[in-house]
């Protein structure tokens, strides 16, 4: 619990010292030395400043702190807390977090503490009391809470910082004081407690139901005490909560009812990623499927056929539907995720066709991170299934990656059965071998299905015709099987989060800039003002497009393209996050994480250089500390401060990322708390963020 307070009184200058890089912009000649070089640049003369060579820091921390305390937020001012036992202190802070969730930053810590103590740790009572007695004073004291659509003061302060940074090209220290505080810590920050560790482990099956109920927890709590942290829900509160508090739009609507209004009667949305070993036939399969479903016109298909023939690549004609770049077509290899769209009977599917080649796994991870469900395509051809399945092949690595990224429902597509004469034995052999492996990898048997197809001939994609196949197979077609996937519950009522995965100029004359990504949580409407982190600027949404169709709003789970204005976006980089200005995402270059180590050759030690893959971002990082080796299933500490972590173990580690990035704790946002670790071109571990340091 100590850290709870530390954060508030922390000197951020010290905290981020040593970080001297400029992030989020394109540098032609970035002469910053590596972090380890900084070490010895300074180590002999701590006091001495090499001002002649090194860029100096911005001496503005003081200003910021004073500004924050002016805003009545008690940052940097330790609150008066009467002596309490450990348990009471824990209670106090969890109550305080609850209050903060409801009331936002407007709540001064001292007032909260006093109220909680007065009500004997009953958060509900304390909330009531606070709302009744101190609404007026809170309002007048805290300028933040009465700002309407304008960004809060702290944001303005940091915005200035942001622009100074860009103009002067001065290294900046990211100050995320308020962010860390605002979201609060409802769990002990160590992350080692047994109760919560179980659901931190990716390999262990967390049931979709569990996840669902967790998300629904926000929505369905009975009575007039909504438990959500979302501003919309606050509005629904009949109490005297300041109406305009932390608003991103003028007339904030209730998300749930808006969702019902907009989406009821439409098909459920599902993000589907297609993975598998290189040349398993993923693009061909899905290209052919799109053609069968009329998503690609016959004229267009004819064109692909002619052009691919010219290149001597006619067998790739269907793959061309998804492999659109010249490089991809001439080499016959998918390099980046292609996004497309089709419908099944009850679902609207956003298709993400991932590359299979091992060199493009970073892109595959990006695709998988956005997916709700996955298709694993395997090549049934004699010898080919084996190549993909053996070590070094991508079948296993992809299946593990997808599972580690939170996908629990998997369809296995046994492809190219035309090559083995539609052999039932071959199909069964593959099902048996994969089944055993997938179970080990953490998939539940009932969440995995197997479909025999041929992507090239089109057999059993949308219809089952081949007599040799119907002889022994009467199950669903691939399309029918996809229709049976269960859509996950979307965190509609959580603060907005959208990880930017693409930045490009808008086409068609307008000078705007487009940002693409999947809306992770919450909803957006045109006109909304959102904070872009870590840039720390406010942008406004001019247009929302889903599948190239303009919409007035979008909801968690949607793949969207936003046209935005309001900030200079040349400094936005992949992995930046659009978020609710009142509840911004955390920015950090140091995290504590629980990692599950795959089958690796080289043990992980402290100082081990890795690449972390997080959503659309990949960034160099170092394992800076091995805190403990923990038991794979119980989460108990097996050994403290181990010398190294070897294959198939789990550990609690600290990771230093080469520049600050946006991240969330796994317990707050599952999808945003997961990441993968790779080194030397192989995936070595899956991680869950347990602490943001």
């Amino acid at each position: 619990m100590a850290r709870h307070r530390n954060i508030r009184t922390m000197n951020y200058d010290e905290e981020y010292d040593g970080y001297d890089d400029v992030y989020g912009h394109s540098v032609e000649d970035d002469y910053a030395s590596s972090p380890s070089m900084q070490h010895f640049l300074y180590d002999r003369s701590q006091e001495h400043q090499m001002s002649a060579y090194m860029q100096s820091d911005i001496p503005e921390e003081d200003e910021l702190v004073s500004d924050e305390s002016k805003s009545g937020n008690d940052v940097g001012v330790p609150s008066r807390i009467p002596p309490l036992g450990e348990l009471e202190q824990a209670q106090l802070y969890s109550c305080l977090d609850l209050l903060r969730d409801r009331m936002g930053d407007a709540l001064s810590e001292q007032a909260g503490i006093d109220a909680i103590l007065a009500c004997n740790f009953d958060a509900e009572k304390a909330l009531d009391q606070l709302l009744k007695t101190s609404v007026a004073s809170t309002l007048s004291k805290s300028t933040k809470s009465i700002i309407k659509p304008k960004p809060a003061p702290s944001i303005q302060v940091e915005k200035i910082r942001g622009s100074e940074v860009r103009d002067g090209k001065t290294p900046v220290k990211v100050v995320s004081a308020k962010k860390v505080v605002a979201t609060g810590f409802s769990l002990p920050p160590t992350g080692t407690d047994a109760s919560s560790s179980a659901d931190r482990q990716p390999a262990k099956q967390e049931s979709a139901v569990e996840e669902t109920s967790r998300q629904l927890g926000c929505l369905q709590t009975p009575g007039a005490t909504p438990r959500s942290t979302s501003p919309a829900d606050r509005e629904a509160t009949p109490s005297a909560t300041p109406k305009s508090q932390s608003r991103t739009r003028e007339n904030r609507v209730d998300v749930a009812s808006e969702y019902v209004k907009e989406r009821s009667g439409t098909k459920a949305l599902l993000n589907l990623v297609v993975v598998g070993h290189v040349d398993a036939g993923k693009s061909t399969l899905m290209g052919h499927m799109l053609f069968r479903l009329g998503q690609v016109s016959s004229k267009q298909m004819h064109k692909y056929e002619q052009e691919s023939k010219k290149l001597g690549k006619q067998s790739f004609m269907y793959a061309w539907v998804l492999d659109e770049t010249g490089e991809e077509r001439s080499r016959g290899i998918t390099m980046d995720v292609a996004q497309s769209q089709f419908e099944t009977e009850t679902k609207s599917i956003t298709l993400l066709d991932a590359p299979g080649h091992r060199d493009f796994i970073p892109n595959m991870i990006f695709g998988a991170a956005q997916a709700d469900v996955a298709l694993l395509v395997v090549d049934a051809t004699t010898g080919e299934f084996e190549t993909g399945f053996e070590s070094g092949g991508q079948t296993r690595e992809h299946a593990l990656l997808v599972r580690s990224l939170g996908v629990s429902q998997l369809g296995v597509v046994v492809n190219k059965l035309d090559m083995v004469g539609w052999s039932r034995d071959r199909f069964n052999e593959i099902v048996a071998r994969l089944g055993a492996f997938l179970k080990q990898a953490g998939y539940k048997e009932q969440d995995v299905f197997y479909v025999p197809v041929s992507g090239l001939t089109g057999e059993n994609l949308t219809a089952l015709d081949e007599p040799k196949l119907t002889e022994w197979y009467s199950g669903p077609t691939l399309l029918q099987a996809i229709d049976k996937f269960r859509p996950p519950e979307r965190p509609l009522n959580r603060p907005v989060r959208l990880v930017i995965s693409d930045i490009f100029k808008s086409v068609g004359g307008s000078s705007g800039c487009c940002l693409a990504g999947r809306l992770e949580s919450g909803m957006m409407q045109t006109g909304d003002k959102l904070l872009i982190m870590p840039l720390n600027e406010i942008i406004q949404i001019k247009n929302i497009a889903i599948n190239e169709v303009s919409k007035g709003s979008c909801f968690a789970g949607d793949q969207v393209v936003l046209t935005v204005s309001g900030a200079d976006l040349s400094d936005v980089s992949l992995g930046s996050v659009l978020c609710d200005p009142s509840q911004p995402i955390k920015v950090t270059s140091r995290i504590e994480a629980r990692i599950v180590i795959f089958n690796i050759d080289i043990p992980i030690t402290k100082g081990y250089p890795v690449v972390i893959h997080y959503q659309s971002l990949s960034e160099a990082a170092t394992i800076s500390k091995l805190i403990a080796q923990i038991h794979k299933s119980t989460g108990e500490v097996v050994r403290k401060r181990p010398r190294c972590l070897t294959k198939q173990t789990s550990g609690l580690v600290e990771i230093e990322i080469s520049r600050p990035i946006c991240m969330e704790l796994y317990k707050d946002y599952r999808e945003l708390g997961r990441f993968m670790i790779r080194a030397n071109g192989t995936t070595i571990a899956a991680g869950l963020v347990t602490g943001i340091l």
Partner: protein
């Protein structure tokens, strides 16, 4: 580096005069000079003179100064070594005890006096004066959107340019922005290569990337060269070597230097040897953990047991401000050698040295297993 003179007594005191010639020599000098040494070098001093009329003017004079070094700064990018300390020898312009900052300048002699020339310092001089160590290699490590243009010399890896841009992704029905972004990226990398690689001294340019980025880029570059009739690139085409790397991050250079195509093309450089040594340490740690240790505490214990076969030390440990600390490591090196072990001092500027530095800076592969050490906890400070 040119060695001009060397007078070292039996007890280790003495003076050495050296002339640094290239940027790398500055790095060697940086590693040689410690807090408390005295340095005599030519420097420029601003002198205030007061005329008879009382008006004062300042002028710059070049003079030989001897200072006792207090602070040492090295700028790795510019390769400038800057020493600050008190004047300890009579001088017409500078009072005794006054502070002065000396820049070590290329092609100017400096002499260095130490109270104790230890084995690590003496070997550093040998290394610095060995011309065979001067093998310049350039490496461009890239993936789509990121490129590090590095220079790898005997003792240093310097990132000369880092290009980090966002390339629009391919989108359904439109790949033109993607392709335009890629061209722009390649062009920036190309310009950085032209600016930072000196083709006259560089024996080899490694182009490394995952996938086809390297091939695509190379194609682009050579096309550009013939279109613009760029002789430098056309004449040096054969110096380019295309190697696989798993990413464009700098630490992937390790994979590149270990690639058989690179090792066969170049004689063993220090950087490659270090990559191999560290790899070997990790291999032993995996297969026989009781024969591989890191952290001062464990390594010292292993040394007590005369068990160390290979000692890996990062050179940053010998730059410690504390004389005691430096001595500890020097003694360790001497003792390992006395016991017939080999020692390898890593340059903290190379990628593997960077990693070793993060791994407490000291590691050892043992001749025989010491399982008892495994049970001992690591030093607390090794956790920091």
């Amino acid at each position: 580096m040119k060695l001009v003179s060397r007078y070292i007594e039996r007890d280790g005191t003495g003076r050495v005069a050296l002339i640094p010639e290239n940027p790398e020599d500055m790095w060697h000098a940086y590693n040689l000079i410690s807090h408390g040494d005295t340095i005599r070098a030519s420097t420029i001093r601003k002198v205030q003179t007061e005329s008879a009329t009382g008006s004062s003017s300042s002028s710059r004079v070049r003079t030989m100064l001897t200072v006792e070094v207090e602070t040492i700064d090295f700028d790795t990018q510019a390769c400038v070594l800057r020493l600050k300390g008190r004047n300890v020898e009579e001088n017409p312009y500078v009072k005794m005890g006054a502070y002065h900052t000396v820049d070590i300048e290329p092609n100017r002699k400096f002499s260095l006096t130490k109270a104790c020339w230890d084995i690590v310092a003496l070997e550093r001089i040998d290394m610095a004066c060995d011309p065979s160590q001067n093998a310049d290699v350039a490496a461009v490590i890239m993936h789509e959107g990121l490129a590090n243009v590095c220079l790898v010399t005997g003792a240093m890896t310097l990132v000369r340019a880092k290009i980090d841009v966002t390339i629009p992704r391919k989108r359904k029905g439109s790949t033109s922005q993607h392709e335009k972004g890629l061209q722009k990226f390649y062009d920036t990398v190309l310009q950085a290569i032209l600016r930072h690689v000196n083709f006259e001294v560089t024996r080899c340019i490694l182009l490394a990337s995952p996938g086809f980025v390297k091939d695509h880029f190379f194609e682009y570059m050579m096309q550009w060269a013939s279109k613009n009739d760029n002789r430098v690139l056309i004449d040096n085409k054969s110096k380019f070597l295309l190697i696989h790397a798993s990413s464009g991050f700098k630490h992937s250079l390790k994979e590149v230097l270990a690639d058989p195509a690179v090792t066969s093309r170049m004689a063993d450089t220090k950087a490659m040897a270090e990559v191999k040594a560290l790899e070997n340490f990790y291999a032993v740690l995996q297969t026989e953990p009781s024969r591989a240790f890191y952290g001062l505490k464990h390594v010292l214990k292993a040394n007590e047991g005369q068990a160390i076969d290979t000692l890996l030390v990062s050179d940053n440990l010998f730059r410690s401000q504390s004389v005691e600390e430096r001595k500890t490591y020097v003694k360790l090196v001497e003792s390992v050698r006395d016991n017939g072990g080999t020692t390898r001092i890593f340059s903290s500027l190379h990628v593997s040295g960077e990693q070793l530095t993060q791994l407490t800076g000291v590691a050892a592969v043992l001749r025989f297993p010491m399982p008892e050490l495994e049970e001992e906890p690591l030093d607390s400070d090794e956790d920091s």
